[in-house]
């Protein structure tokens, strides 16, 4: 079925991919957190719109959870952690922005090819939404791999989870209880990561992964 409603769903999914690219582009920590909040906001809008199309009220709850936790709570808490630990605000990059964006393009092409081949019989719009969701997951992984700062690793991990939520809401019929449990487990994981960051910073005075690598243990 074509029509404006489905075009808007498509636009929101494409917007999520665009925001993932914007996350890859950032090299300052506060800007990254703001973009991540935007990521979660777009996700919330997308889930809410899916709830409207599919007439599934439990997805509204998912949207509100995404909005409150990931767009507001987590960025604010990460902000506080950065200030308290005094983490320096520049993100070190393993690969420069230009080649990273090229790799991102390649990942988008790859996920389009894979998804469009694997789901050959399904509804064309659902296939493309799934392809976008896979793009977001892969771009989140790319961010974890090409950035050295521990906070950016957390953000990358969160955006992977956003991509999974997008995929799950796009394919109709994910029950609410699964979403609640996923959200709570993410919250717990996040608190644990926060505590770890605290301890790491206390002990080693830095959260740069390359520096931490030196303390890993004996090299034979």
């Amino acid at each position: 079925m074509r029509g404006l409603v489905f075009d808007i769903a498509h636009m929101l999914a494409g917007g999520l991919v665009l925001v993932s690219f914007m996350q890859l582009y950032q090299d300052r920590l506060y800007a990254l957190l703001n973009i991540f909040a935007l990521h979660a906001l777009v996700l919330a809008l997308s889930v809410a719109w899916q709830a409207y199309i599919q007439d599934a009220p439990h997805l509204y709850v998912t949207a509100v959870i995404a909005l409150v936790f990931k767009a507001i709570v987590i960025p604010v808490v990460l902000h506080r952690i950065i200030v308290r630990l005094g983490i320096h605000r520049e993100i070190e990059q393993v690969v420069r922005v230009g080649p990273t964006m090229l790799l991102g393009m390649g990942l988008v092409a790859l996920s389009m090819v894979v998804m469009l081949r694997v789901t050959a019989e399904a509804d064309p719009l659902a296939r493309e939404d799934l392809a976008f969701a896979l793009c977001v997951v892969l771009l989140g992984l790319l961010m974890m791999v090409t950035r050295r700062n521990a906070v950016s690793q957390v953000v990358g991990f969160m955006s992977i989870e956003n991509g999974l939520v997008l995929a799950a809401t796009g394919a109709k019929g994910m029950p609410l209880v699964v979403e609640i449990s996923i959200a709570f487990s993410i919250l717990i994981a996040f608190i644990v990561i926060g505590i770890f960051l605290f301890r790491i910073r206390e002990r080693f005075d830095t959260v740069d992964i390359q520096a931490l690598d030196r303390f890993r243990g004996e090299r034979s």
Binding site: M11, F21, M105, M112, P124, E128
Partner: protein
């Protein structure tokens, strides 16, 4: 008779475009000043500046060549022709088929080619800085712009701007991801090509921060007036382009009557004012980038354009 009327409308568009360009700059400066809590110059100040410059004597460097004196006219001619070919208040003008979007971009490219040569002509370091940075920016901005053109051409089925504008007003186009990405990329390219913050500062003359202003440093008098008018025309061209493709409502179709033309003109003025306001807002909110961050910025625009084109190649419904 109809041909005479069409010719008159085409001529009117060329005059309108020429007359409105300084006004666009004036609105932008006023809005920026107000946002910075200043009163700002009056809206017609750019007109006064141009007339003042036109009346002044040209002071030419001793070793400037004939090319240096001819280039302002070349740049102005190329930019004016390109700006006159972008539909403003009516699409499907008499000569709109003589140059499509690719040719318009190439005309702007030739204006830039000659301006870069002018920077090198006098043989000082300032001009060299401007020219070398300008061609670096162009080497990424032009491909990004061409990718946007490809996206539009693939969606609308034509590279003719009038056909694209007509297609966008019709209901065949949905809200497409590629269009959104193309709009993003086009805005980034427009900022870079018009030498706006964050790529270049149009109001400064420090060599650390200038690209366009460095190339035209040696120009004075009527030559400088023509170059300023050409850059104002270029800004008008880009705002009109974004307006006619992404905000096409209100434009009169080909061969419409006087009432539709009046509505088209009013809609066009509204779009220009809105464009100037948004540009000034954006420029005030953001700081200028280091010169070597600009390739990353434009590389991102190129990637977005390429992504938009790729999505269209891969799936016709995206």
């Amino acid at each position: 008779m109809a041909v005479m009327l069409d010719l008159a409308v085409q001529g009117a568009q060329m005059i309108v475009v020429l007359l409105l360009a300084p006004l666009l700059t004036g609105i932008g400066r006023k809005v920026r000043a107000r946002l910075l809590r200043r009163r700002g110059p009056p809206l017609i100040q750019p007109y006064r500046d141009l007339i003042r410059l036109l009346r002044k004597e040209v002071v030419l460097a001793e070793n400037a060549s004939w090319l240096f004196r001819v280039i302002p006219y070349l740049v102005f001619a190329a930019t004016w022709v390109a700006a006159a070919l972008v539909p403003t208040f009516q699409s499907g003008l008499l000569f709109s088929w003589s140059a499509d979007l690719i040719a318009i971009i190439a005309l702007l490219g030739s204006a830039r080619f000659f301006l870069a040569l002018a920077g090198l002509d006098v043989g000082t370091s300032f001009g060299g800085i401007g020219s070398s940075r300008e061609v670096m920016i162009a080497s990424l901005a032009e491909p990004a712009m061409l990718m946007v053109v490809f996206t539009l051409a693939l969606i609308a089925g034509s590279t003719q701007l009038s056909t694209v504008a007509a297609f966008m007003t019709s209901s065949d186009v949905g809200l497409r991801v590629s269009l959104g990405l193309a709009l993003f990329a086009l805005i980034m390219v427009a900022i870079a090509e018009n030498a706006r913050i964050p790529v270049d500062n149009p109001a400064t003359h420090l060599e650390l921060t200038m690209v366009h202003e460095a190339m035209v440093l040696e120009y004075s008098g009527r030559h400088l007036a023509l170059i300023e008018l050409a850059s104002q025309l270029k800004l008008l061209l880009y705002v009109s382009l974004i307006g006619c493709v992404f905000v096409p409502w209100g434009m009169a179709p080909a061969g419409a009557g006087a009432q539709a033309l009046a509505i088209g003109l009013a809609a066009y003025l509204g779009k220009l004012a809105l464009g100037a306001f948004l540009l000034a807002l954006f420029e005030t909110a953001i700081a200028k980038m280091r010169v070597f961050r600009v390739p990353e910025f434009l590389g991102a625009a190129l990637m977005l354009g390429l992504l938009a084109t790729l999505l269209l190649f891969v799936s016709r419904s995206l």
